[in-house]
Symmetry: C3
Subunit: 259 residues, 3 copies
C-alpha cells in the first residue's frame, strides 16, 4: 500500500485529500501523479468548483517525499530527474489551477509537504502544525522552481534560514515568518478553513480566477504584454460585474453565476 490522493466535491467547494496512513502522509510516486490528476481535473471544472481545500488525512498535512522509496526511485542523477518529472508537474498543477486553493495544515508540513503548501494561495494552520525543509540532512537540494515558490512567500532571509539550518518551526513562528496566513487552535481549524472557502465561493468566481492569475503572472519577471494589460478590463463585460455592482447599490447580497 503506497497511499493515495483523492478528491471530493461539496457544492462549490472541493477537497483534495493526501493520505498515507502510518507515514505522516508522505508522498509516494503514485501519489504525486494522483495529486497532479486531482488538480488538473478540478481545473477543468469551471462551472461548479469555486474553491479547493487541500488537506492531509489524520494528524498530518504531508511529510514530503517518501524517503523509503529513494533506493528504488531516486538514487542518482538520472533517476532523480525522472522522479522530478512526476513531482514538478504536480506542483505546477496546483499553481496553475484557476481556482483559489487553501492549505489546511495540521501536524507536519515538511519537505515536499511544504513545497505543496507553498503552491497554494492561502495557508491556514492549526497551532500544532510544524514546518521545515530539513533536506540539508539528506544532502539534497530544493530545485529552482520549488525554491522560487517558497521565496515568493517568505523572502530570502527566512528561506535561507530554513534551508541552511534545516530548522523545524512551530505554527506561531511560521506565522511570524509569513509562511502561513494565520494560525487557529487545532480544534477550530476545520471550521476556519471551510468558512474561508465559503466566503471565497460567495465572491465572484471569475474575479477570483483573474486575481489569482494576475498575482501569479506578476511573480514572473517577464514584462507584461499589451494584451495581458488589457485583460484587466474584461471583467467589466461579465454578467457577474452587472450582478455585483447592482447588488451593491441595492444593498443586497449578490448571487454570482460565474459568467
Amino acid at each position: 500500500m503506497s497511499g493515495s490522493v483523492t478528491y471530493s466535491k461539496d457544492g462549490a467547494i472541493a477537497t483534495v485529500l493526501i493520505e498515507n496512513a502510518g507515514r505522516l502522509n508522505a508522498l509516494s510516486l503514485p501519489m504525486w501523479r494522483q495529486l497532479r490528476s486531482a488538480f488538473e481535473e478540478l481545473s477543468h471544472d469551471r462551472d461548479q468548483t469555486r474553491c479547493i481545500v487541500l488537506r492531509g488525512a489524520g494528524e498530518a498535512f504531508a511529510a514530503g517525499a517518501d524517503i523509503a522509496e529513494f533506493e528504488r526511485e531516486r538514487y542518482d542523477v538520472a533517476s532523480a530527474r525522472a522522479y522530478g518529472k512526476a513531482i514538478h508537474p504536480a506542483l505546477v498543477a496546483i499553481s496553475d489551477c484557476p481556482h483559489p486553493v487553501i492549505s489546511m495544515i495540521v501536524g507536519p508540513c515538511v519537505g515536499g509537504g511544504l513545497e505543496i503548501a507553498s503552491r497554494t494561495d492561502i495557508r491556514i494552520a492549526g497551532e500544532g502544525a510544524r514546518f521545515g525543509v530539513p533536506v540539508n540532512r539528506l544532502g539534497l537540494v530544493v530545485a529552482y522552481a520549488e525554491l522560487k515558490a517558497l521565496l515568493d512567500i517568505v523572502g530570502p532571509s527566512v528561506a535561507l534560514e530554513m534551508l541552511l539550518e534545516g530548522k523545524i518551526v512551530g505554527a506561531k513562528e511560521a506565522a511570524a515568518m509569513r509562511l502561513v496566513n494565520r494560525v487557529v487552535p487545532d480544534k477550530k481549524l476545520e471550521g476556519e478553513v471551510y468558512d474561508t472557502a465559503r466566503r471565497i465561493a460567495e465572491g465572484a468566481p471569475l474575479a477570483a480566477r483573474w486575481h489569482k492569475k494576475f498575482v501569479r503572472r506578476l511573480l514572473e519577471p517577464r514584462p507584461l504584454r499589451q494584451d495581458e494589460l488589457d485583460e484587466s478590463y474584461d471583467c467589466f463585460g461579465t454578467e457577474d460585474f452587472q450582478t455585483g455592482y447592482r447588488a451593491f447599490l441595492d444593498k443586497k447580497k449578490p448571487q454570482f453565476r460565474g459568467r
Copy 2:
C-alpha cells in the same frame, strides 16, 4: 456636488486632501483628475516642497471609487477602459512624484483608497483604520498595475488573502500584514505623521528623491543600465553632500538647500 481633491503648502510640507463629505471620501471621476493634478503640480515644485502628506477629510482616508457613478461611467468594457484612463495616471502621479509621500490613514482605506495608499512611500495608520479591497463582491478585478503596487508591499500570500476573501482588516492586522508601516492611537496620528514629515524635510532633499527613485526603479524587473548605476555617485557632487558630511564632522545640525 462630487467632492474634491485639493492641496496646500506649509513651508517644506504639502498636504493633499481627499474630501467627499457623507461618502467616506469616495473618489468621483473629477476627484481622480484633481488627485493627478495635485501630485503633478507638487512634483514640479522642487524648490520648496520636501515632503507630502496625503490624507482624507474627517473620519476616513478614502472609500475607493464612487460606485454610485458606475451606471454612468463604468458600466462595460469600453467605459471601464475610459474610466481607467482617469484613475491610472492619478496613481502613477503619486508613484512618480519625486517627493516622499506619507499616507495618514484614519477610518476606511478600502478599494481605490488602498490603491492610492499603496502608491505612497510610508503608510501611518490610526488604530481605528481599516483596510481591504472587497471587489470580489462587485465582480470586478484590480488591474495589473494597481495589483503590482499592493504586491510589492505585502507579497502574494497577503494580497491573495485580501482579494480572494474580500476581507476588511483592522490597523493592527494591517501592520502584521505589512500593509502599514506603523499604527498609533487615532488622537496621536496627526502629530506622528507631521513629525515624520518634518524629520524627512530636515534631511537632504536630493538624497530623499534619489532614494525614492532608486527604490521604485529596483521594483521594475528591467536590468539597470550603466548610466543608471552611475547616478549613485551624483550625490557626491552636490552642495548638500558638502553641507552634510561637514556638519557631521563638526557635530552640527546640517541645513540642506537641495542643491
Copy 3:
C-alpha cells in the same frame, strides 16, 4: 592606526572580525579591502570551511564607513567613484561567498555596517543592537547594488521608511521589520550564533552552497537557463546524498564529507 578586518578558523567554522577600536568599528578604506580579501580567501577554502560568522570587535557590529576619511577619500564624484571601487567588491565578496554567512550583531549596525549585514545570509542580533542608514543627514545616497540587498530583505516600505526618515531602530523593531532573523539577549548572542553555525556545518555542505547559490540567483530578474535548471539534480550524484538518505533510513546521524 586605521583598524583591521581579520579572520580565523576553528574547524569548519570561520570567524571574520571587524575591528576599529574607539570608532565603533567604522570601516576605513584599508578595512574594506581586507574585508574583501577575507571573504575571497575563505571562498576558496571549500574543503574545511562550512560556515562563516561575521562580527565586530567589542560592543559594536560596525558603524559604517569612516566619515573622518571623507575629506581625503570621498569628497567629490570622482573620489567617491574610486572609493566605491573598494567598497562594492567587498560587499560582492560576501554575497558571492559560497559558504553560509551569519552576522552576529551587537550594538550599532548602521550605514555601511548594515550594508555589510544585508549581504549575509542570516542575521542574529542581541537585544541592544540598533540599525539604520541615516545617510539623509550626510546628503549621500545608498548605491543601487547596496539598496537592492536591503530591499530584497525588507521590501520597499521598510527600506523607504529607514532611508527617508534616517531612523535608527532597536533590535525588536528590526525583527518586526524582518531586518534580522532573530533577537536574543545580548549575553546569549555568541552562544546562539555559534550553535547556529554548528548546526549549519553539520548539514551537507554542498547542499548549503547550492541553496545559497540558488536563492541569490532567484533574486536576479534574468530568466533561468536550462543548464541552471538542470543543476538542481546534480546533488543526487554526490557522495553526500548517498550518505544523507542512507543515514536517514538507518536513523543515524550523517557525517558529510562535502563530496
